[in-house]
């Protein structure tokens, strides 16, 4: 299929703005501009806004902030990875155009990438640290409004934009102390 170069660039731009949830935004950014030189692959990355088995449709939110928009795709039994099209989950959907409509071919979960030297902690281990009164600081990285509604015990709030602007002054002076960051989860 012949694709207009403008469309390819647009796809690249869409891919650039598709980072939501806990997923790392650095890991995928460099690949987002590549499609210009490679064979363009039709793909959406973002948060699943809904899935209807009755209508055989999936909607996914791509883009960030004001640029966010919802895209609807069809699927059928030949679509792979339908189990990853769960409302609220971050996913990568490859698609084709069939009869003028977007048709999902492969759905994959969008996994968060951990920065070098950072490890994951699971619920039970974290619970154990609380029970043992471990010397740690728990930091909520979500927007302040979400933090206000429900947060983990004793957590402090440093939304990502504030961390980028240097609000880390509220972090402990002792750089050996355990820091646990969390947000709204992958789902």
């Amino acid at each position: 299929m012949q694709i207009h170069p403008k469309k390819i660039i647009l796809l690249g731009i869409i891919a650039l703005f598709t980072f939501t949830g806990c997923a790392s935004d650095k890991a995928q950014a460099p690949t987002a501009v590549k499609p210009v030189t490679e064979k363009a692959e039709k793909v959406f990355k973002g948060k699943i806004a809904g899935k209807s088995n009755k209508a055989k449709s999936i909607s996914i939110v791509v883009g960030k902030g004001d640029k966010a928009k919802t895209v609807m795709l069809k699927f059928d039994d030949s679509t792979k990875g339908l189990e990853f099209a769960k409302k609220g989950s971050a996913a990568i959907i490859k698609y084709d155009i069939k009869d003028g409509e977007k048709f999902a071919t492969i759905i994959k979960p969008k996994l968060a990438k951990l920065p070098a030297g950072v490890t994951e902690i699971k619920t039970e281990e974290l619970r154990g640290l609380y029970e043992n009164h471990a010397d740690m600081t728990v930091i909520d990285a979500r927007p302040a409004s979400r933090y206000a509604q429900a947060r983990l015990p004793g957590a402090i709030s440093i939304p990502v934009p504030e961390m980028k602007m240097g609000k880390e002054t509220v972090l402990p002076a002792n750089k050996e102390q355990l820091l646990v960051f969390y947000c709204g989860g992958p789902t």
Partner: protein, 249 residues
């Protein structure tokens, strides 16, 4: 998000940085308590419940709290709107976490505690009220989300009282054939919405409904993107709240 912050912390020289990727939803789901902030308790659209014995609530309670002693909570649970955020406090942490557990297992999704319970609130300088409790009625109204139509406006349209509205039923033809359709409503299944946009009036408001709101939301997004003045109904249409007249097949 949390990974971005963790990366920045690492750069700042913190040696021991970890990320709880599953995040707050997993914490709540595992049955562990979450806590809320003073500002949200003061002004949020919440149901705030004092689960201490009523005589304690008479002596002093958080402003705008409803008194439902823990022993009565089970009996009153159906008085609490299912989709409301519920904030609880006690003077006994174990009782408070038990109550969180009870509500969550009953299907409440947003339940959190006042940090430090009543004593914590008082020492943080929070507003209280004292004296007899006039009413333990729960008054809570959901604030309509982006793109939502109120049930009242929707009902007016299906009743024929609003000629400037075009109502779409986005369920499948099979569902409509089996269950019937609201008056003054056109059935356009969600998967046909893109190909049938030419049937829709550009000069009218469009309301979309389905059985629960999920498909209507998707249709809403699609129509909005295409420049229509559209809203959707986020409601299980089998609920009593929507007593719109149905044309049976």
């Amino acid at each position: 998000m949390s990974t971005t912050n963790a990366g920045l912390a690492k750069k700042l020289g913190y040696k021991n940085v970890r990320v709880y990727l599953e995040g707050e939803p997993a914490w709540s789901k595992a049955g562990y308590p979450t806590y809320t902030s003073k500002g949200y308790i003061d002004t949020g659209n919440i149901v705030l419940i004092d689960i201490r014995a009523s005589h304690k609530a008479v002596e002093g309670r958080i402003k705008r709290a409803v008194s439902i002693p823990y022993d009565d909570l089970e009996d009153r649970i159906d008085d609490i709107p299912r989709n409301s955020p519920v904030i609880l406090y006690s003077d006994d942490q174990e009782e408070a976490t038990d109550a969180v557990d009870d509500l969550r297992s009953d299907g409440f999704k947003h339940v959190a505690l006042v940090p430090g319970n009543y004593a914590g609130w008082v020492s943080a300088g929070g507003a209280i009220e004292t004296g007899p409790i006039a009413s333990t009625e729960i008054r809570w109204q959901r604030i309509l989300g982006k793109g939502e139509v109120s049930v009242a406006d929707f009902k007016k349209a299906t009743d024929g009282g609003d000629p400037n509205v075009f109502v779409i039923d986005s369920r499948t033809k099979e569902e409509v054939a089996e269950l019937g359709i609201f008056k003054n409503t056109t059935n356009i299944p969600l998967d046909e919405i893109t190909s049938r946009m030419n049937e829709l009036p550009k000069d009218k408001k469009i309301y979309v409904h389905c059985s629960t709101g999920a498909r209507a939301d998707m249709a809403y997004q699609e129509l909005k993107k295409n420049g229509f003045d559209v809203k959707f109904l986020l409601l299980n249409i089998e609920e009593a709240e929507c007593d719109c007249e149905i044309l049976r097949p």
